[in-house]
Symmetry: C2
Subunit: 278 residues, 2 copies
Amino acid sequence: MRVIESVAEMVGLRRELQAPVGFVPTMGYLHEGHITLVKKTREENATAVASIFVNPTQFGPREDLAHYPRDIPRDLKMLETIRTDIVFVPGSSEKMYPAGYNSWVEVSGITERLEGAVRPGHFRGVATVVAKLFNIVQPDRAYFGQKDAQQLLVIEKMVRDLNINVTVVRVPTVREPDGLAMSSRNVYLNLEERRQATVLYQSLKLAEQLYRDGEKDADRIKCQMTDLIEQQPLAKIDYISIADSTTLEELATVKIPVLVSLAVRFGNTRLIDNIILE
Amino acid sequence: MRVIESVAEMVGLRRELQAPVGFVPTMGYLHEGHITLVKKTREENATAVASIFVNPTQFGPREDLAHYPRDIPRDLKMLETIRTDIVFVPGSSEKMYPAGYNSWVEVSGITERLEGAVRPGHFRGVATVVAKLFNIVQPDRAYFGQKDAQQLLVIEKMVRDLNINVTVVRVPTVREPDGLAMSSRNVYLNLEERRQATVLYQSLKLAEQLYRDGEKDADRIKCQMTDLIEQQPLAKIDYISIADSTTLEELATVKIPVLVSLAVRFGNTRLIDNIILE
């Protein structure tokens, strides 16, 4: 496994890599979700590239950039174990955003809702860093987890709109045995919060069950999800959404494929999760 | 010479092209300036690609998109004569901007001044279409005329910031024998306007002469340029700028390298020109 810290070196190395090149961009502090992405990349490509970069431009001024969990030595060990070929670790922000940096990729429309509404500028930061990483690594395929459903839609739309020559591969969310979606932010939860956080997935499964039982009214489904979540005293709901799975427009009547997604706070920790009903 | 009208076909063809690939994006209605760009591309690359696309997203709602001059058969003949290998002509706007299109490249800072101040959204359209064309054609080098000085700076900044793997080559402005910079918009000028339009370059040469003679006060240089231009009764000055040639910040005292640029209207026709003092 080669660890590359320089942008120029990564660009130069690209020509030597055997195609197809698969790529998993991460913010590090890897968990089973990331490992699943890299394993799939490993299986489907001649070369598997991962990156670790905590991207400052996707954090809002009052968000958790400074405290975002980091453990690069542990990440590298994990990536080596699963036979990653190349890990791109630019390290300092200045390598990706030098002084005077001022170019941004904006995906309008789907970025104003849900996470974008709560985190203004977040998806501009995501789209920009992914565009940059795609230009640096030049992968044939890039792998993203379904857990960040809106992020996936934004990246797919950016790739389509800007004619970026990368195939975006969706990978199902990896969960803990009790259903909690894997996330680097789960480490923030204390024991009691962690226990109550299983309600996110339970509420999504409830939505699915209601739909399968014939309930098509989105508000009634959301009400029942809310009731279930509010049984957990530490849970504070940011939003529950039942939306078109491509445009993210909120639906009054459920029409598949539909994205059921939610954001819930436990103390200072904000968790998101979703399922697609098809 | 192959003429490619489909985005997918152009993307697919790219793998077969002999490197290095040089690229000249144009809006058509070619003149000596474009021809010089393509000839240089021809000399310096194994494969010479040009594109013709009147990009709607860089025109404002009250600008001349509908009337922008077009003559693709003539353009193709000219490009064939100078041994262009590939011409990418997407034709309809919908091929580049399908329904629901919503992703944009924004270069901040240098786009708010000069042309960007008069034409809001213009450089967003330019940066976006150039990013798209770079992704479609994937050139090693791309050639742009110095006449659109701010556009060149925007593209250079975008390429640097977004790690786009293309070398941007600056090519000096090509001029008519009387000094008027070549432009597709020159055809809009009537005979009298055309005659008076030579004052743009004369005023730039005056600025150069004043500077060489020791004048370092930007306002005094601008005043003399204004006086000269206003001797032409049909000329209406939009702006005269003496700015840092990288940041485009207006200078009180001339410090080389400096960009002296201006925009002047003759009737409905708006002309721009510039020189860099080094």
